[in-house]
Symmetry: C2
Subunit: 324 residues, 2 copies
């Protein structure tokens, strides 16, 4: 089973991407299609002494969507971008899942257009697994949609619950709505309307979750618009970096970075699943390390073997049936 990997996406592409792909391909059952500029990819591959034993193929793609580009324009004008070719491998069935650490907007757009959206999904969502005091929770959307409507947040809740259950092994996921106060009356217009709509679904809805309680872990699936979610995620990351910096400066006896990394670092999960498109996709951080890339590819592979997409589809159908 192949994972299509955009080898050109990410701050340190293709070197770090290829390195992570090699590590992932050492795991049993994982084949990889590296998509991008052939020469540098093959150069990077040559560094693996066990290359002949790994199931890695290279698929050529001439163009790249640069981080500063507008996604719509880039995909319109460049026909052979690595992200487009990679998503088409999934659409045609040559690959079972996608991993990209490149331009998020372009990845979302390419995946939507090559794979299509699941029935009942108007907007796909990027989900992130985050550590809590009790284990782990899912936050979504963290960046696929800057502006959302209440019904989008309801779909996010359904998709996030399936992800939490199937992939993270959370027995009975509880849905929370990110807000600035616990009461139903608190929040912005989107949140207040979404609150009412979420109460009407068949989902176990916990209510509003204040940002300060995000890490408490009472709600295991927390939904929000992609602007707020992205800000929350990035602020957390920045805060961790700053604290690590402060501790280093002050010469703390223990280097805290190792301690944090296991529990707090995105590298552990390797990427954010893009939920709602008709194929398993994982979007990695632009600054992904080789280890994060490996984890992201393994995660994408797991989505395919665990039938995440058909299970989300079934749950969307079931809840639509129960409310209509």
């Amino acid at each position: 089973m192949y994972v299509a990997v955009d080898a050109m996406g990410g701050d340190h592409a293709p070197g770090v991407i290829v390195e992570g792909a090699i590590e992932a391909a050492r795991q049993p059952g994982i084949g990889i299609a590296l998509v991008g500029a052939e020469a540098p990819i093959r150069d990077a591959l040559a560094r693996a002494p066990d290359l002949s034993q790994l199931d890695i193929t290279v698929v050529s793609a001439a163009d790249v969507v640069e981080m500063g580009e507008a996604a719509v324009q880039a995909l319109r004008h460049k026909r052979q971008t690595s992200i487009r070719v990679a998503t088409e491998l999934v659409a045609s069935g040559q690959a079972a899942a996608l991993f990209s650490a490149g331009h998020t907007g372009a990845t979302v757009l390419a995946a939507r257009s090559a794979l299509g959206l699941l029935d009942g999904v108007e907007r796909p969502a990027l989900a992130t697994a985050m550590p809590t005091r009790r284990g782990v929770a899912v936050l979504l959307d963290v960046g696929a949609n800057a502006d959302c409507r209440p019904r989008h947040l309801v779909t996010f809740a359904i998709m996030g619950s399936v992800f939490a259950h199937v992939v993270l092994g959370i027995e009975a996921p509880r849905v929370g709505l990110l807000s600035i106060g616990e009461e139903a009356s608190k929040g912005n217009v989107l949140v207040r309307k979404s609150h009412r709509l979420l109460e009407e679904t068949g989902l176990p809805f916990f209510g509003n979750v204040e940002a300060r309680d995000l890490y408490a872990g009472d709600a295991t699936v927390v939904v929000c618009d992609g602007f707020t979610g992205n800000v929350a995620l990035k602020v957390s990351e920045a805060m961790v970096e700053m604290i690590v910096g402060v501790l280093r400066e002050t010469g703390a006896a223990t280097d805290p970075s190792d301690m944090f990394r296991r529990r707090l670092d995105a590298a552990e999960y390797g990427g954010a699943p893009l939920l709602g498109v008709a194929g398993p996709c994982v979007v990695g951080h632009g600054r992904s390390s080789a280890r994060a890339v490996r984890n992201g590819i393994v995660l994408a592979h797991r989505f395919a073997t665990q039938s995440l997409v058909p299970r989300i589809e079934a749950e969307l159908r079931r809840l639509r049936g129960s409310t209509s």
Copy 2:
């Protein structure tokens, strides 16, 4: 010069509030009017051995806005709430500034209605000083307005710049717009429209600031809607608490809490100034310690002595003049 203090506001009121007020009153030139239920306030005051040397008066108010109440209803039905009586002391000139660690919504509403808004201000904003790698920056709005329009964010930028200059001593404040990408095309509808509008003002506009760069300190005044700002602030606080918890659990040699507190804790600043109302107001955290309360009261007093409000008013007038 008196600071009116809502003695009943906050999780540990009135005990902690009175304690903080006593500490503040020990500073030269600071008088305090403690507003609330007389008996418990006087009990708490009796613990100060030097009470007779302090300039503290008690102003009776029978009601309290509880944390779970809706602000509008509470202020409508309870006529003698401590927050209303405290703001009226400022409106009548008996006090020069306000400090409250109580219900934020009720404080904002009471301050607006007793003091009024400055000319050109449609929405007041809560600002918070946050530590950066280079010093300090101001983030606003962090909770007064869950839904904002672009012109509100422009006013926040003006008010935040005056605050940064006058109170925080930042020589030439640079305005940033909190977003999920640096390019002007990134962000939600509000951010994209606000970006264009901010470019047209006479302010030194830095452009979009990603959440991950918030602590870098390139922009020293960062504006956003109150929902996003509140989430960003609370997520940061929660992250610090979680990391301190992790470090304690793992038995780190150094207790990190002291290290963090100086640079990261809200207690250092003691509260968020409410900018845009026609009088100096500081809103403290509900969980304020006595030290945070003292700092918040001192901050409110400083706003009055440094003529923060008239200077914001002058700057609003100046920029209105230059663009019309």
